[in-house]
């Protein structure tokens, strides 16, 4: 079967790139780690790929706000390329720090197509970084090609700035009406998730969103940390059938294979 080439961006403090590349490798991708400085030097290199992935980490230490400096560099140097990339029907994913980058670049959700920042990811209500596994649902009717039909899954969150907020009610409505919400935190008993099930206090329990094409996707949880059933925190109690993190990458790869 055709392998989908995946550009996994690295450098400047990204640190979850190895396992992200591995997740794509396991699901039919042909990942390549590319340093941001090489991409800035030669933006045309992006065109070789079907998917570009922004991994988690602490880019620039998150010293000026999570993902902020990395986002500013990408916007300055890669905006036109990334627009063309998405318009060509290709896919973008950003995980944790990568999600923060996409949001602060403005490519996500990009409601007006002008890369103006509409949403943000701010400090958790708890005020601290936390690492814990959460339950997630694909948002009913979502446009997101990475999460359509995704069964309920569990993944770890590992962040200090993951509280999803919208600029105003208009943006909030546009996300709901546009079916741009991709993934939400779920409570064990079905009601709205509260802390710690909603680990950061996100609006509507939003864990991930997409743009209007459904192809640009960002999420706070780490699907690339669930690579084998033995990564699950309760595998010694009941072994999961599959490493559910891979389901998300399978969807992305499948879509890219059909459409690019």
């Amino acid at each position: 079967m055709k392998k989908v080439r995946v550009c996994v961006i690295t450098g400047f403090g990204i640190n979850a790139d190895l396992e992200l590349a591995e997740a794509f490798r396991r699901t039919g991708g042909l990942p390549e780690r590319v340093h941001l400085s090489d991409l800035i030097e030669n933006p045309a290199a992006l065109d070789r790929f079907g998917i570009v992935a922004f991994p988690g980490g602490f880019s620039f230490g998150d010293h000026l706000g999570s993902g902020k400096v990395f986002a500013s560099l990408c916007k300055q140097h890669l905006r036109a390329r990334l627009d063309a990339f998405v318009n060509a029907g290709k896919l973008v994913i950003g995980i944790c720090n990568g999600f923060q980058m996409l949001v602060k670049m403005g490519i996500l959700p990009n409601l007006e197509g002008d890369w103006a920042q509409d949403v943000s990811l701010i400090h958790n209500d708890s005020g601290v970084f936390e690492d814990r596994w959460v339950r997630l649902d694909s948002f009913p009717g979502t446009r997101c090609v990475w999460t359509i039909g995704l069964p309920p899954i569990e993944l770890p969150v590992r962040h200090g700035e993951g509280k999803f907020v919208a600029r105003d009610a208009g943006v909030d409505n546009a996300l709901v009406d546009g079916r741009l919400i991709a993934l939400t935190y779920r409570s064990a008993n079905g009601g709205p998730a509260r802390y710690p099930e909603n680990p950061n206090g996100s609006l509507r329990g939003i864990a991930g969103i997409c743009d209007r094409t459904g192809r640009v996707f960002g999420l706070m949880p780490h699907p690339e940390a669930f690579l084998t059933p033995y990564n699950h925190p309760r595998w010694t109690r009941s072994l999961p059938e599959r490493a559910a993190g891979l389901l998300i990458f399978e969807r992305g790869i499948e879509y890219a294979r059909k459409n690019t």
Binding site: G56, G61, H63, K68, V128, F129, R237
Partner: protein, 1001 residues
């Protein structure tokens, strides 16, 4: 330019709310509202405009900003009462400012120049009632550390009167005179030599000073000096290099001393505790174990992981810096030990961190804290924050570790920082764990620049803490600068652009280039080529500065262009600062002239051996009768003891699973909040092979016998490895000795006893490792863990010494991680067994702490019996017969059972009748016997559950071994224990859970 950034009021700031809550909790002061403002002071840029500022600094949705006008009223609301602005002192690394400057440079290369200066600050705005002056002082001083930071406090009235925080950066570091001084040692008598060492913070003894003085009379050496244009007087560059190289920190003088050891009538001579007990142990074990690749000769120890990979491991201590600045001390400890791994062989990749932290009671009343020392709560908070930032920002998971509490850590906390790394076994066919440095290779400094921070760290840590402790030894680490360096080095390693490297830690360049030069036979260093943070560093300061995030790399001249070009492309600073030679000398130049010439042999081997005396006096305690409250009450107390209780709140804040390799995590059980005995890690994506990370530490046994303390530490690490499913035949350990000053002196009258404890501990370590076939592959010793408290109201001056503490840290192979074990009970109906013998040896136990009883005997390890049991358990695990396994440690059987039940949210119903025991319980007082069985901390024991279907096969593996059937796991969430006909314990699971979770909350 002054930028002030803040969250818009519609987006509440979680950090601010947390701060207000902690002020209420710690100080009882009610803060109505708290707001945070991030401040940047930028000078010397050309044409940076609001658009640049917004793109680089501002989250346009959640934040607002003010340029050159105050944000206070908008950020804090009109009603704020106090403003506190905190900034780093000049010369202290300001990681946020470093990033800000780099971000501006990347965006506007034209606008950032050599004149550009960026500093950061953080502002707090408190809305609250008037605070009494004393409360203000306590609350605001908890926000910063005056050693590294300055604070400005403004009241509303002062603000209204027009006072404002500074618009410009604080003054720069005061420059040193850039000259080289010479000292004629020949003219100095003993008193003057001592004074010279003391005043220059050299930490050299009189004998050592004489050795240096004599060397500078050696004719052959003087001839070489004349040829180099140097006189017979020693330069400051030379004496500083000698002092750093010969420091206790670098040379382990006490650990290598010649000791006259007396034990009653018996006397013996021990030549080097290290050689006698550590190295010899490994030499003996190595005859049987073929997986050792590099031991005691590199920055970490290296073992074979599989055919394609080697695994390395190192644990360092950062006690003295953490005592002064807990945050900075801990974070530099982490990034420092990360560099030890980066520096291993031809570069290993750090893949996990682990930390063991020892503090005094964080809830101690303020009045218990001697003047001049930080409250243990502040020490703990700062260290914890340093470990969070050090690991999380570097993308290295914190997989294991421990928190310990003992009043004697008031004087110095112990901060053990460990890191493991992975190396490809071969690099283009060559062994990856062997460095190659050839004459002619260039000495390249990579990473951060050199400043005055961290001067004299190595010599300072060799002295006790007192009021004169130098603050220049305190630093802030910058993980992101190091991460970029690491990424670059990994890329360069792949391209084989270098074959040898080491880190710049204690002693700075003097130490790193001195070490690498051993492999070629000499080095020439050009100090004026070294990149500096600012002007005005004396040559000796450049040589010994311990500025962080730097490595020294040996690069073949043919590769230097490619090496430097790649560094530039990755925004990493790299500069050739010298050349390796085979001259036998370290030659140091500055501005074209030679400012130092040292004989390599003298520098590395000229240090005189220290001669010390040790006298062992066994402690004797009389047996006394003990009274107990109910076991129910005791269990709840023991579960809430800070040494036992849940650390979830602390450990949640560590990223424990970045890299996607975590198999057994710090949290086990149905709600992922149960106890874990250690970590299981699977480092290679396409293999099921893994390894454990565990620790053993037992300082409360030191007052009984340091031999048992050490034996217990080895046993604890080893049994946790086995409990996790590790292979008892394939493990390796590190020894970290932290001791109070063991050199007898008028101010240290029991020095000989403390040194005897060191000998006893060495022997215990050796006996245990030999019995378990456990090689020691690296280690560290830290010998001056005392604090002198000499304030006006403390007379006479008091000394607080830690209990002698040996930390044993272990990595061991798990052949197939799919057989790994967790501690949580899995299902009701499972059978509960205890493995190992319980003894009447409660000295040093948590029960002792919680009851105030004194017990005569501390636990003893029977190594041979234990090893048989470990092998049997490993067989049971391999055969898939075990459903849960928890080692019995602090709090004994009772805590192991309770924690297993908590993990599974299940109960148990058991009897103590068949607990294998090593003494006859007193039949007249069954409840006392039950208490002792429940809470004894005898080593080498486990609580294991087995499904009923496997019970017979399981039991057949333990014939003739101490294994007792206790009872069953129950659906009913109750902990029920019987002994004979008596119900001796019955506690609801939720009660136990609340106690266990509440201990440190």
């Amino acid at each position: 330019m002054r930028i002030e950034l803040f969250y818009r009021p519609s987006f509440p700031d979680g950090r601010a709310a947390r701060l207000a809550a902690s002020i209420w909790k710690n100080f009882g002061a009610s803060i109505e509202r708290c707001a945070l403002v991030d401040v940047y002071l930028i000078e010397g840029t050309a044409g940076i405009g609001p658009e640049d500022i917004e793109d680089v600094f501002v989250d346009r949705v959640a934040q607002d900003y003010r340029l050159d006008r105050p944000a206070a009223d908008d950020a804090g609301g009109a009603g704020w009462r106090y403003l506190v602005e905190i900034a780093y002192r000049a010369g202290v690394t300001d990681p946020v400012a470093i990033t800000a400057e780099e971000a501006l440079r990347l965006r506007r290369p034209d606008a950032v120049t050599k004149q550009t200066r960026v500093r950061s600050a953080r502002q707090y705005l408190f809305t609250c009632g008037d605070l009494a002056a004393a409360d203000r002082e306590r609350i605001f001083s908890s926000l910063y550390n005056p050693l590294v930071e300055t604070a400005l406090v403004l009241t509303r009235e002062e603000w209204n009167a027009g006072r404002r925080p500074p618009a410009a950066s604080p003054d720069a570091v005061s420059p040193s005179e850039v000259t080289v001084r010479e000292f004629d040692l020949a003219s100095l008598d003993d008193e003057a030599l001592n004074a010279f060492s003391r005043e220059k913070l050299l930490a050299l003894s009189l004998e050592e000073m004489h050795t240096v003085k004599d060397h500078f009379r050696d004719e052959a050496f003087l001839a070489a000096r004349r040829e180099a244009g140097l006189s017979g007087a020693i330069t400051d560059v030379e004496i500083e290099m000698i002092a750093q190289t010969w420091s206790e920190h670098c040379k382990h003088k006490i650990f290598n001393a010649e000791i006259d050891y007396r034990d009653g009538e018996r006397a013996e001579k021990i030549v080097s505790v290290f050689k006698t007990f550590v190295k010899k142990t490994t030499d003996l074990v190595a005859r049987r174990k073929k997986y050792l690749l590099s031991v005691f000769e590199d920055d970490s120890g290296v073992i074979r992981f599989d055919r394609r990979h080697a695994l390395c491991f190192k644990v360092e201590t950062h006690n003295s810096p953490s005592a002064l600045d807990p945050y900075g001390g801990a974070i530099t400890g982490i990034v420092g030990v990360n560099r030890d791994v980066l520096a291993t062989g031809r570069m290993a990749t750090p893949i996990f961190n682990t930390n063991v932290l020892c503090f005094a009671d964080p809830s101690a009343p303020e009045s218990d804290v001697p003047p001049g020392l930080l409250h243990p709560r502040r020490v703990m908070e700062g260290v914890h924050r340093g470990i969070i930032d050090g690991g999380n920002q570097s993308g290295i998971p914190v997989v294991a570790g421990a928190f310990l509490f003992d009043p004697d850590y008031m004087g110095k906390p112990l901060v053990f920082c460990g890191t493991g790394g992975l190396l490809p076994a071969r690099l283009r066919g060559e062994k990856s764990w062997v460095k190659i440095v050839r004459p002619g290779d260039l000495a390249v400094m990579v990473g951060g620049r050199i400043g005055k921070d961290g001067i004299h760290g190595a010599t300072f840590s060799s002295l006790a803490l007192d009021e004169t402790s130098p603050t220049s030894a305190v630093q802030i680490g910058d993980p992101i600068t190091q991460k970029k360096m690491w990424d670059f080095l990994e890329e360069a390693r792949g391209l084989v652009l270098f074959k040898g490297l080491t880190d710049n830690g204690a002693g700075g360049l003097s130490s790193s280039l001195g070490e690498l030069a051993k492999r070629s036979g000499g080095v020439e260093i050009e100090l004026d080529r070294c990149p500096l943070k600012y002007r005005g560093l004396a040559p000796w300061e450049i040589l010994v500065s311990e500025s962080q995030e730097r490595m020294s790399v040996a690069v073949n001249p043919k590769d230097i262009d490619a090496f430097l070009a790649l560094a530039k492309k990755r925004s990493v600073e790299a500069t050739a600062v010298g050349t390796f030679t085979d001259s036998g000398f370290i030659r140091i130049r500055h501005g074209g002239t030679t400012v130092g010439l040292l004989d390599m042999e003298f520098l590395h081997d000229g240090l005189p051996v220290m001669k010390l005396k040790a006298e062992w006096k066994p402690m004797r305690r009389r047996a006394e009768s003990h009274r107990y409250e109910s076991n129910d009450a005791l269990l709840l107390k023991v579960l809430a003891n800070p040494n036992v209780c849940s650390r979830e709140n602390l450990v949640r804040q560590y990223d424990h699973e970045v890299r996607g390799c975590s198999i057994v995590k710090p949290f086990a059980g149905v709600n992922a909040d149960g106890h874990a005995d250690g970590a299981v890690y699977k480092p290679v994506f396409d293999s099921w092979r893994g390894f454990t990370v565990t620790h053993g530490i037992a300082p409360r046994l030191s007052p009984f016998d340091a031999y048992d303390m050490a034996a217990h530490a080895v046993d604890e690490a080893f049994r946790a490895h086995v409990a996790l499913g590790g292979d008892p035949e394939y493990a390796a350990a590190l020894d970290n000795f932290c001791w109070p000053d063991p050199i007898a002196a008028p101010a240290n009258p029991d020095g000989e006893y403390k040194l005897a404890q060191l000998v006893r501990a060495g022997r215990g370590l050796q006996d245990a490792c030999l019995a378990y076939g456990l090689p020691l592959i690296s280690g560290k010793d830290s010998m001056k863990n005392d604090a002198f408290v000499a304030a006006a109201n403390v007379k006479p001056a008091r000394k607080i010494s830690i209990k002698p503490t040996l930390l044993v840290s272990l990595v061991g192979i798990v052949g197939d991680v799919r057989r790994a074990q967790t501690t949580d009970f899995k299902a009701s109906g499972d059978l509960v067994f205890v493995l190992g013998e319980t003894g009447d040896e409660l000295g040093g136990s948590i029960l002792e702490l919680e009851t105030g009883n004194a017990y005569p005997d501390c636990p003893k390890v029977n190594f041979e019996k234990a090893m048989k049991l470990y092998r049997a358990l490993a067989r049971a695990v391999r055969k898939g017969l075990v459903r849960s396994c928890h080692d019995c440690a602090e709090g004994g059987l009772a805590v192991a059972l309770a924690e297993s039940a908590i993990g599974g949210r299940l109960g148990f119903s058991i009897s103590l009748d068949d607990v294998p025991y090593a003494w006859k319980p007193d039949s007249r007082d069954p409840s006392a016997s039950a208490t002792e069985l429940l809470f004894s901390e005898s080593p080498s024991r486990f609580v294991v559950t087995v499904s009923p279907a496997n019970a017979r096969r399981f039991q057949s593996l333990f014939k003739n071994l101490p294994a007792g059937f206790l009872g069953i796991v129950t659906e009913e969430q109750r902990l029920n224990v019987r002994f004979g006909n008596d119900q001796v314990l019955s506690v609801g699971l939720n009660e136990a859970l609340d106690a266990w979770k509440g201990g440190l909350a």
